[in-house]
């Protein structure tokens, strides 16, 4: 007999359920297999893009916002550099 628990890993609720399942399985003479809904099995696709690096949506969004802040900052810095060099007769 195989029982699967599809709750996300790991948590007290699953710990408790795990104990119950274990006891049940022992009485039934079978084995227990607890399967997280969110598998820990490694995927095969490499994460290459920075904004895709984290598996967490909120962190990917943060990275994207940081990228935007950085781009705006460097654009402003180069504009200021233009202005500085123009006043020195460099451009």
């Amino acid at each position: 007999m195989r029982l699967e628990l599809t709750e996300a890993y790991p948590g007290e609720a699953r710990d408790k359920a795990s104990e119950i399942f274990k006891a049940l399985a022992t009485r039934l003479g079978g084995k227990v297999r607890v399967t997280p809904r969110d598998s820990l099995e490694p995927a095969t696709e490499p994460a290459t893009a920075l904004t895709e690096l984290s598996p967490f949506q909120s962190q990917r969004e943060l990275s994207a916002r940081l990228e935007a802040v950085g781009k705006a900052r460097f654009d402003r810095m180069l504009t200021d550099l233009d202005r500085l060099l123009s006043t020195r007769g460099g451009a």
């Binding site: 609720a13 399942f21 820990l40 490694p42 995927a43 690096l53 916002r65």
Partner: protein, 286 residues
């Protein structure tokens, strides 16, 4: 383009440094950037920093909070991976995370670390800019191909445009440099938050494992996987290993947080009586 004077070099370095200070303030706020009120005001007066942008993003705190709430979200039947940033903020607003001294200190330390690193990159960027300008001045850049004697004002403008493009291209690398810092510190903060919550709930000797990303480097796999399965350790062991900052790769240890820059290994809790099977699924120990 004329040779750069010592005054030019100083002004360029100052300009770049001020922009990186402003970038740091935007990301981690005034205090963590080590910026005083008068310096901040001078950045605002110079049009370099917008008052609204100061600490508008707080990625370190957000990351720490997500880590702290990760297990609770899972217990509530939510998948923390799919929660958006707006949803996370809404949750924090509805049910603020307890602000323990440990959490406050950890967040502030991570902010300081990130802020210092971002400001520290300014030196490299200023060096890149000055090198490009110096090459132009010596005629080794595109200007040299045109010929100093014959370059018309229009040609000079075109040459400068090319220089601007090259600097713009270099900005892509600068962006990668500081984002590496920000991303690494966000990951560090999230893992610290998760470890903090695990420690609070299950104690310092909670059983844990580090799960490497599919494209993890050989060092991470060496430190996190044995016999094809994630290594189960005590949280206290990882905490005792401290940080790998300053260590050579061969001396890296399994730690709470980033094993190295851009590390994405994730800490997970392993309940007593459970272990990983060959597919890295948690199963009851036979």
């Amino acid at each position: 383009m004329r040779q750069l004077t010592a005054s030019d070099l100083m002004d360029i370095r100052t300009l770049v440094a001020r922009h990186f200070v402003a970038l740091s303030v935007e990301i981690v706020g005034l205090e963590a950037s080590g910026v005083g009120a008068s310096e901040a005001q001078s950045l605002v007066d110079a049009g370099i920093l917008s008052p609204e942008a100061m600490g508008a993003l707080d990625p370190i705190k957000d990351a720490y909070t997500l880590g702290f709430l990760r297990r609770r979200l899972e217990q509530a039947g939510m998948d923390p991976k799919t929660i958006s940033l707006d949803d996370l903020h809404a949750m924090i607003e509805r049910d603020p995370m307890p602000t323990t001294n440990a959490a406050t200190a950890a967040i502030q330390q991570a902010r300081l670390w990130a802020g210092q690193h971002v400001v520290g990159i300014a030196g490299t960027v200023a060096g890149d800019i000055i090198r490009e300008l110096a090459l132009e001045a010596k005629g080794e850049g595109l200007r040299g191909a045109i010929g100093e004697q014959t370059a018309s004002a229009m040609e000079a403008r075109e040459t400068y445009g090319a220089l601007r493009t090259r600097l713009g291209d270099a900005a892509g690398q600068w962006s990668k440099d500081w984002l590496r810092v920000a991303t690494t510190e966000m990951h560090e903060a999230q893992e610290q938050g998760y470890a903090q919550e695990l420690g609070n709930t299950f104690g310092a000797d909670a059983r844990v494992a580090l799960i490497p990303n599919p494209d993890a480097c050989k060092h991470c796999r060496r430190l996190t996987v044995a016999n094809g399965r994630p290594i189960i350790r005590r949280l206290s062991e990882l905490v005792a290993n401290g940080s790998n900052v300053g260590r050579k790769a061969a001396d890296w240890k399994a730690v709470v947080g980033s094993i190295h820059p851009y590390c994405a290994c994730r800490l997970v809790y392993v309940p007593e009586g459970m272990e990983f099977n060959e597919k890295w699924l948690l199963v009851a120990t036979p």
